[in-house]
Amino acid sequence: MYDKALLKDFYKTMVSIRYFEETIDEMSLKGEIPGFVHLYIGEEAIATAVCQNLTHKDYIQSTHRGHGHTIAKGAQLDRMMAELFGKKTGYCKGKGGSMHIADFSVGMLGANGVVGGGYTLAVGGALAEQMKGTDNIAVVFFGDGASNRGTFHEALNMAAVWKLPVIFVCENNEWASTTPYLTQTSVKDIADRAVGYGIPGVIVDGNDVFEVYEAAKTAVERARRGEGPTLLEAKTYRIKGHFVGDPEMYRTKEEVKERFDSNDPIKRFEDKVLSSGDMTESDLEEIREEIKFEIEKAIDFAKNSPFPGVEELYTDLYV
């Protein structure tokens, strides 16, 4: 069904995100990475599948939980790692960190420390492309919690009424920090909110890279054709604490383990491609080794890079 190159891409991206994050989880707990770090482990299929439909000319707006989006959009692991370490060689020269990671060269226009801060910026990116007459599009990722910010409403209305090429991807991982989403969100399916804007609202299994890929593809094609926005809700689950160091008093370890064991998107992918025979165990192993090696290089790069000097405090403030 899917050609092997695509399958390899899926796997490579998902595994890159997983290994990258497992590493920074460790580094962050050891105190080598400063600041707040939010992990995407268990949600890899979403960024992977959505971004697979995008080119570097398309834009994405990300969240506080942005490593997955950044990797999936095509950023290099070494410069990402350096940024997380606060080093001068990082994408943001150490000024951003995990919560503000960005790689403009591949259309990744930034993680965002403000929940719900990305919607309207994505609308603006889409507006620019519409005005320029390209078929480039913008995608904004956001959480279930973020879906209750007022910016959601303003952005969806504006995008819908102007038929902008923008896709709103809700990563419903059932938790907003310590809040189970249903306790503060008035609809079970956030995709239902599409009705209020007269646009398609689509629900997918966010841990099935294939399902996300197909739905995203439909939305992306629609946007490129000039038919306007789509609200895509990917159902998933937050495996890690809200941030590295979260004591997670609000749920049990068992609940998490059960959800992960039964629904790890990478495992599901592996099972599927192995049983269909589309990939072999050694195909997968090869990719895993390759990524491990890259992560090691990235760590070396980050560790061996210098911190920015104080003389850089005032650079990049104004043009």
């Binding site: 930034g110 910026l121 603006g124 043009v319």
Partner: protein
């Protein structure tokens, strides 16, 4: 020389910049169909189309957010705020996104955009439609802030702001819109951002002001001239970054400083200017600094109270007389 209204001056600035650069566009509520509450956009959609002169939903956060996003994507948006008072609605977009994106992302981005913010008192528009809030933005690194006091500067600062690659807030006083001023016709007018202007030379006292209060400054200077007091008047033009040098040079000469703005006195731009001089020019001073600004209340509706609230020429005159 040709005289045109302040409003017309801003319109010409838009026309010239939109003709010069097809990436410049403007978005805001009721700007295209209506032509702007102050007529400041009349004719623009007819020349540039309803795409580049774009009416929006009542969604200030989306207006500013979309402008930021479009700027990141290579456009040069101008976003109209309708009334400066509504900037609270999109304050997060302004201070956490627009102002920080370039720095936070290590210079990967430029955010060339202008926010046009009509401010100030206008006949009993009351608490939520009369405010001057420029001081907030002085305290936010990553933004530049300008405020023209006359038609010439309105044109020159707006054109310069649109060409600047940084995010800029352009405060335009609502009561100035209808006022006329000299603006030469066949000349490219660009007022440099970051430089104050000595609007009148003098030797006895320095009055620093900007926007509509410049008129009170001139009135006060005339009043004082009758008594032989020769005031120097500085028009700030740019509120952030403040042109310290021009201010300090003037105070070095006159030994006295009064700052006047329509915004509430406490915590206003005048505080920063007074502080700069108290830090870097204290020895110049022969008299206490005086600040003139609005009283410390929300803007009241009733004409009698609005008048009591408003900073006045007499306060400038009185403040200066007390220094001498």
């Amino acid at each position: 020389m040709r005289k045109i209204t302040f409003s017309q001056a801003t319109l010409e600035a838009m026309q010239e910049e939109m003709r010069r650069d097809e990436n410049v566009f403007i978005l805001g509520e009721d700007i295209a169909r209506q032509g702007g509450i102050f007529g400041q956009f009349k004719g623009l959609p007819q020349e540039f189309g309803f795409d580049r002169v774009r009416d929006t939903p009542i969604s200030e956060t989306a207006i500013i957010g979309a402008a930021i996003g479009a700027a990141l994507a290579g456009m040069r948006p101008v976003a109209d705020m309708h009334f400066a008072d509504f900037m609270g609605v999109c304050m997060d977009e302004i201070f956490n996104q627009m102002a920080k994106i370039r720095y936070m992302f290590g210079g990967q981005a430029t955010v060339p955009m202008v926010i046009r913010a009509p401010d100030g008192l206008v006949r009993s528009a009351a608490a939520q439609h009369s405010q001057s809030i420029e001081a907030w933005f002085l305290h936010i690194p990553g933004i530049k802030v300008v405020a023209p006091s006359n038609a010439y500067d309105a044109k020159g600062l707006l054109k310069a702001a649109i060409r600047d690659d940084n995010p800029i807030i352009y405060f335009e006083n609502k009561d100035l819109f209808r006022q006329e001023g000299e603006v030469p016709e066949d000349e490219e007018i660009l007022v440099p951002i970051g430089k104050a202007k000595v609007a009148k030379e003098g030797k006895d006292v320095t009055i620093v002001s900007y926007s509509i209060m410049m008129q009170n400054a001139f009135e006060a200077a005339d009043e004082l001239a009758k008594e032989g007091i020769n005031a120097e008047i500085i028009d700030l033009r740019t509120i952030s970054p403040i042109d310290k040098e021009t201010i300090l040079n003037s105070v070095a000469k006159t030994k006295r400083l009064l700052i006047a703005h329509e915004a509430v006195k406490i915590g206003g731009v005048g505080a920063e200017i007074a502080a700069i001089v108290a830090e870097e020019g204290l020895d110049y001073l022969d008299a206490p600094i005086v600040r003139v600004g609005a009283k410390y209340t929300p803007v009241p509706f009733s004409p009698t109270l609005e008048e009591a609230y408003r900073p006045k020429t007499e306060e400038i005159v009185k403040g200066i007389k007390e220094m001498l």
